[in-house]
């Protein structure tokens, strides 16, 4: 796995570098998604971090494969999005890895969605609605304010598990929060011209991003959450595009582009693939460059 092995290499280098100075016992962190691997790297630079998925993999459908069981077996902390995003594989990994440390959120299990208010929480869930999450939309790493809150809570968790390194974790958090808070107004200024734009997108993957920058997702390529675009549904979307108010069709790096391309060709609309997470394109090397890249790409498609 290219991205994962890079992460391991980087963290291994970080570990080697830190051995000479501070003998901080680096935690072993299992990140369910690369965005949380990247956040963990900001907050615990000495930790050994493994990301279970890449930005090219749909986190809804991950195999509870042997390599993940082996990594979870060794983890001190598992950091995941939560809100049932990983419900199809995380419980199996916990069961099979026999690692008592990561079995409960009282211990080394951390769900980002439990730290913030999620969007689109549902009172009642029925399968006829598709594969929806009662606990709200879990793709919250594109909400900069929520990322700040999650970073604070994750730091508390790191300190709980590794109290000896408390000062270092607090220093990392202060440093990250400062850089992140400074970046937010820069991003917002950059994205100002995107406000009010309308897009058609695949799933509600960019719900938080659109909500933040003021883009309106007027339709979904999926007929229902979790179901692939059907031809009849695409035909109805084509009709919708006739109003002429849509800026682009947006898909995430792990989503199939065929439906979007079909619609884009017929409606003469640009199709833009956005990195879903760190590693989703060349530019996205950490959370900062991921935000930069996503905004650059959206601004690029706006000027088309």
């Amino acid at each position: 796995m290219r991205i994962n092995s890079n992460l391991i290499k980087i963290s291994a280098l970080a570990l080697m570098a830190s051995y000479s100075s501070v003998a901080s016992a680096g935690l072993n962190i299992f990140a369910c998604e690369p965005e949380y691997g990247a956040l963990a790297k900001e907050l615990a630079p000495d930790a050994k971090i493994y990301s279970a998925t890449t930005a090219m993999q749909d986190p809804h459908q991950v195999q509870a494969r042997p390599s993940l069981i082996a990594k979870m077996r060794q983890a001190d902390l598992a950091v995941c999005a939560g809100a049932d995003l990983e419900v199809g594989w995380l419980p199996m990994l916990q069961m099979k890895s026999s690692n008592a440390k990561v079995r409960s959120t009282d211990l080394g299990l951390f769900f980002a969605a439990e730290q913030v208010a999620t969007l689109d929480k549902l009172e009642s869930v029925d399968r006829s609605m598709g594969d929806v999450h009662a606990q709200g939309n879990p793709h919250l790493h594109f909400s900069p304010q929520r990322v700040l809150k999650v970073a604070q809570a994750l730091t508390d968790k790191l300190i709980q598990l590794d109290p000896d390194s408390k000062a270092e974790y607090q220093k990392s958090l202060t440093d990250f929060s400062k850089r992140w808070s400074d970046a937010i107004p820069v991003w917002e200024a950059k994205a100002a011209s995107l406000r009010g734009k309308k897009v058609i997108a695949y799933h509600s993957s960019f719900r938080y991003l659109f909500s933040w920058v003021g883009i309106e997702q007027v339709a979904d390529l999926e007929p229902k959450p979790g179901l692939p675009p059907s031809s009849s549904h695409l035909a109805s979307l084509l009709k919708r595009t006739e109003a002429g108010d849509i800026m682009a069709i947006v898909v995430a790096s792990y989503q199939d582009e065929r439906g979007a391309n079909w619609l884009g060709e017929r409606a003469n609309l640009p199709v833009q693939v956005l990195p879903m997470s760190v590693g989703g394109n060349e530019q996205s090397q950490d959370l900062f460059s991921l935000y930069d890249s996503v905004l650059d790409l959206l601004l690029g498609v706006k000027s088309k």
Binding site: Q57, Q63, G88, P91, D120, Q217, P228, R240
Partner: protein
């Protein structure tokens, strides 16, 4: 509102319509994960030793409930409803507890559960890509072997996945045939030991391989006193409702592997699963006095294997091919008759969503002395659908 397909609007509308009691998906104390599997089919004839009968029928209709009992134990109950000759029977396939908090990578499971020998055995039948288990499973494990017992597992803290387990079971369903009901069987019939290794190959592929050994204290056949043995036992092998193994032996060895592939490791759109298992069952001939041989050319091993490949080429469609053989020995008085069954199968499945599957399967079976089968074509049209909580699947 001109846009009817806006998901948010839809969801809001659905909320307004179904504003009944809240339904959280997370299993908790007051809300365990409850799921049901509905399986119905039509088939033109039967596969030997299989559970599905000719005509319309219901397959594995199951109702499962699971939750963490407390911070130390997880529990699961799976009830299976089956039809036998027009009667409905309720069976328990799983009723187990498992530890969650043991140190050092150890875990204990106790109660009734699926043995972890081989690859397919501990998978739930409704996740299979074919309507029946391979012939080797039907012959040697009664399609899927679950029993009352206890298991101890250990997962090594290594980057390559390495798990080991030992199990002990009652083994009632694995007892050798006892024509006269005179035999004294041991109460603790089955012991197993297995190990599994696994890992990734690049970003696209993952593999797992395992070796298992099963000791069956009651697996050896009883000597048949009657010289001219009628072939009445063939009837019993037609289809197996009791989940009993049809061919037993004291020692069973299983080697298994599975390889899965998906572009960039993204399983949503396309993925390939290739798996295979080999079975060897030995030491089944009745124990006789050292100076007597049961027959001159006495054989003492039975074998079976299968190889299967399943490709999901879009979220809605998957296709599979499978070939399997099983060589067994049927006792007739003082000698054994070798039997062979070869099955070539293709299946095509349509998945409307992750939870609904409609499958068409064709099996060509060729039997040599096998329950009277010479050539047969079996066509099965089946649906398998799950409702309720979304259970996590095994690799």
């Amino acid at each position: 509102m001109t846009v009817l397909n806006n998901r948010i609007t839809f969801v809001a509308a659905a909320c307004a319509l179904f504003s009944t009691s809240a339904f959280a998906q997370d299993p908790s104390l007051t809300n365990p994960a409850i799921s049901a599997v509905l399986d119905g089919y039509y088939q033109n004839t039967e596969r030997p030793m299989a559970e599905r009968v000719e005509g319309f029928g219901l397959g594995h209709t199951e109702l499962a409930m699971s939750a963490n009992i407390d911070d130390m134990f997880y529990g699961k109950l799976t009830a299976v409803v089956e039809m036998h000759d027009g009667e409905t029977e309720l069976g328990l396939e799983e009723a187990f507890i498992q530890t969650l908090g043991m140190p050092g990578g150890f875990s204990v499971r106790a109660g009734r559960f699926l043995s972890d020998v081989g690859y397919l055995n501990n998978q739930h039948v409704h996740t299979d890509a074919f309507s029946d288990r391979p012939a080797a499973y039907r012959a040697f494990l009664g399609s899927h072997y679950f029993d009352d017992g206890v298991r101890l597992t250990y997962v090594a803290p290594t980057d390559i996945y390495w798990a080991m387990g030992i199990e002990a079971f009652k083994g009632d369903n694995m007892r050798a045939e006892d024509e006269h009901g005179e035999r004294e069987f041991k109460d603790l019939g089955i012991y197993t030991a297995y190990t599994k290794l696994g890992g990734d190959i690049g970003a696209n592929g993952s593999w797992q391989a395992g070796l298992s050994y099963m000791r069956n204290e009651n697996g050896r056949l009883t000597a048949d006193e009657h010289e001219e043995h009628e072939e009445h036992s063939d009837e019993d092998h037609g289809h197996d409702h009791s989940h009993s193994a049809n061919y037993t032996g004291e020692n069973t060895y299983i080697a298994d592997f599975v390889y899965k592939w998906a572009p960039n490791g993204n399983y949503k759109y396309q993925h390939l699963t290739v798996s295979g298992e080999y079975f060897k069952v030995t030491d089944f001939t009745p124990a006789v006095h050292a100076d007597e041989h049961l027959s001159e050319q006495s054989v003492d091993d039975q074998q079976g294997w299968y190889l299967s490949g399943v490709y999901q080429f879009s979220p809605n469609w998957s296709a599979g091919v499978r070939y399997g053989e099983v060589d067994t020995q049927e006792m007739h008085g003082d000698h054994f008759h070798g039997q062979k069954l070869k099955e070539s199968e293709v299946s095509l499945a349509w998945h409307h969503s992750h939870f609904s599957t409609v499958r068409l399967q064709y099996t060509n079976q060729k039997g040599t002395n096998f329950d009277g089968i010479e050539d047969d074509n079996v066509i099965t049209l089946q649906y398998v659908m799950t409702l309720g909580a979304h259970g996590a699947h095994q690799f």
